[in-house]
């Protein structure tokens, strides 16, 4: 199960891509070019990266309102993402969905989600379809600590074990659901403990350590793929930004933020790869340059694309 250098560099590049994408989105949002809400994944890059590095293109994921990192990690095209964020016709959802609803069914991405707890039942359902059709596909359900308290999440987990579905529930515990801290919203220290209630394995991992996430996911996904049933992985992490762009963050303090910034998953992995001499400075610059170029292309593609025509409003409500 040990990772090759190439795989590690790939994971590093993916984390860096998410980070730079999100920083670009923050800038565009501040410039008034993105309507609605955007929830950024800065600080949590290791989770989606480590998990999705184990997935095949035809495996499924369900995402959340904080979905950009999941999408990028599952192979999402940043040009189409950016166009969608700007509400353009050329975006992933023809401008109809926006940040909270980006999806790419061709890549097994069953959508970001505006409803907290909306994803887990969908994940169990996608896993049911794979099991039913005898395909060796797995589904990963990303969900937050806040979503861990929704009934839908628990119902989906219970059904997943009852039916031994090939699904892995990946909890992104960033300690907050908007202003609600896990210290007040639940009475267990570890969400992973709740797995016992459904008789599925539950493990806690350092969500800012991409290799730890990769390894935990690798084992859980192997079990799921081989028909041994679902499991729960809790990744302890933190969001560096507010809940949404523009959040005054009155509910948490600067010290806590700095503590977590010191554990920045991207910098940490970068340092590790430098120390291990897997990566050289020049290679890092090369990765960064190449992402920068792709991002610039994505932004100009998005900005130059047309808005949907008002007449398109009635299209796509039903399948003819």
């Amino acid at each position: 199960m040990s990772l090759t250098n190439e795989q590690m560099i790939g994971m590093y590049a993916n984390m860096k891509k998410i980070r730079m994408f999100e920083e670009q989105v923050a800038e565009l949002f501040a410039a008034g070019k993105i309507p609605g809400f955007v929830h950024l994944y800065v600080g949590e890059e290791a989770v989606a990266t480590g998990v999705c590095a184990n997935l095949r293109e035809d495996d499924y994921i369900t995402s959340t309102h904080r979905g950009h990192g999941h999408l990028i990690s599952k192979g999402g095209d940043i040009k189409l993402m950016m166009a969608e964020l700007l509400g353009k016709k050329t975006g992933y959802c023809k401008g109809k969905g926006g940040s909270m609803h980006i999806a790419d069914l061709d890549l097994g991405i069953l959508g970001a989600n505006g409803i907290v707890g909306g994803g887990p039942p969908l994940a169990s359902g996608a896993a049911l379809a794979s099991q039913y059709q005898g395909k060796d596909l797995v589904t990963v359900c990303f969900f937050g600590d806040g979503a861990a308290n929704q009934g839908t999440t628990h119902e989906a987990m219970n059904l997943a074990t009852c039916w031994k579905l090939p699904v892995v529930f990946v909890n992104e515990n960033n300690m907050y659901g908007i202003s609600s801290c896990t210290l007040n919203s639940m009475c267990v220290a570890d969400i992973a403990d709740r797995a016992a209630a459904y008789d599925m394995p539950g493990v806690v991992v350092d969500g800012n350590d991409v290799v730890a996430v990769y390894e935990a996911a690798s084992e859980a996904l192997r079990q799921a793929r081989e028909g041994e049933g679902p499991s729960l992985i809790e990744c302890k992490t933190y969001r560096h930004k507010g809940h949404f762009e523009g959040d005054p963050c009155v509910y948490r303090n600067e010290e806590e933020l700095q503590e977590w910034k010191a554990k920045d998953p991207v910098l940490r992995f970068e340092k590790k790869l430098l120390d291990m001499q897997v990566l050289a400075r020049e290679k890092i610059d090369e990765i960064k340059d190449s992402i920068e170029k792709d991002l610039a292309k994505a932004v100009s593609f998005a900005e130059e694309s047309p808005f949907p025509d008002p007449s398109e409003i009635i299209e796509d409500v039903y399948t003819p």
Partner: protein, 329 residues
């Protein structure tokens, strides 16, 4: 009188009622430390402590359900659902439990609870954070449905809702939170089930709700220059519906346009139109026209969202059609 925003007026209603009645508690996601996503519950935690202002986990079914149980057992919960779109997660507790309890129990239960939620499009919040769902609630016997359009109405109607012994769904259009107006500083009530004529007129009745009241008033002002006198009626409470005020207006103007932001198909306007057709058919000089959203989810892109939300041009067009007045461009 004081000048306050719609959000401040709602905040004030909470504060005054909580000072008056110790059995009132507030609960919901981010209502305490954060003061509510739109600031409606700001300052309540400091004044009333976390016994009475409860930040909850993300757990709508339990937020609504505990309110129902607590109301049945003697408290007066005022809960915030944040976005009305989240009712799907909690609907059973509202429509099967809260709404039917009194009736099923032979009249014995009292359910004094208010569920507040924001609704409406206009900020690019997309399909799951922008809906107007008042018709869903109107369709349930046992629920009252309130939808204010001004700061003054917001405060008086919220106080009445809190004092009402029935479950009340209180819908706040999110574009209204910043709207300012004159509001009495003391507590006052506006009876539930009483419409308000926001502007008197002779030629056409425009029944509108929430943000659409403001658009309709602006249209009425413009039309007055073209010699058309539009009467704008705001039901304020959709259930119970003040049928008499609407009927009286239609008997005077002989024409009816209904404006709401919900999708037109099976929206609240369908009920109002049917009611008028049943009870004042002989007074109508033109078919009733509804101006409402198309039958689609709320789209994200600004060009599509603008197409979704009824606008002044569409209201003017409707008025022009029912009045047959060619002067109206």
């Amino acid at each position: 009188m004081a000048n306050m925003s719609f959000a401040q007026a709602l905040n004030d209603a909470h504060k005054l009622e909580m000072e008056r009645d110790p059995n009132i508690y507030v609960a919901g996601e981010d209502v305490g430390v954060y003061g509510g996503i739109f600031g409606v519950t700001a300052g309540l935690l400091d004044q009333f402590t976390d016994k009475r202002v409860r930040d909850t986990p993300i757990t709508e079914s339990a937020i609504v359900g505990t309110a129902v149980g607590a109301a049945a057992a003697g408290l007066r919960p005022v809960i915030e659902l944040m976005f009305v779109d989240f009712i799907g997660v909690a609907f059973d507790q509202l429509y099967n439990q809260a709404a039917k309890m009194k009736y099923m129990f032979g009249g014995k239960a009292k359910l004094p609870l208010v569920m507040r939620a924001c609704c409406g499009a206009g900020i690019g919040a997309a399909a799951q954070h922008s809906q107007c769902l008042e018709a869903w609630f109107m369709h349930v016997p046992g629920l009252k449905v309130v939808m204010p359009s001004t700061p003054y109405d917001a405060k008086g109607l919220l106080i009445s809702s809190i004092r009402d012994d029935n479950p009340v769904v209180f819908l706040e259009h999110k574009l209204l939170y910043g709207m300012e107006g004159e509001v009495p500083e003391e507590a006052y009530t506006i009876p539930l089930g009483q419409a308000d004529i926001k502007r008197e007129g002779q030629d056409v009745t425009v029944v509108a709700t929430a943000q659409m009241v403001n658009l309709s008033l602006s249209v009425a002002e413009k039309l007055s220059g073209d010699g058309i006198s539009a009467e704008v009626v705001d039901p304020r409470t959709l259930s119970p519906l003040d049928e008499e005020t609407i009927l009286e207006s239609v008997r005077k103007t002989h024409r009816l346009v209904i404006v709401h932001e919900e999708v037109k198909f099976a929206g609240s306007g369908a009920e109002i139109a049917a009611m008028v057709a049943e009870k004042a058919f002989d007074y109508l000089d033109a078919p009733i026209i509804r101006v409402a959203a198309p039958f689609t989810p709320v789209p994200f892109s600004p060009t599509l969202e603008a197409e979704f939300i009824p606008n002044e041009d569409k209201i003017i067009q409707a008025v022009k059609t029912v009045t047959g007045n060619p002067n109206v461009a």
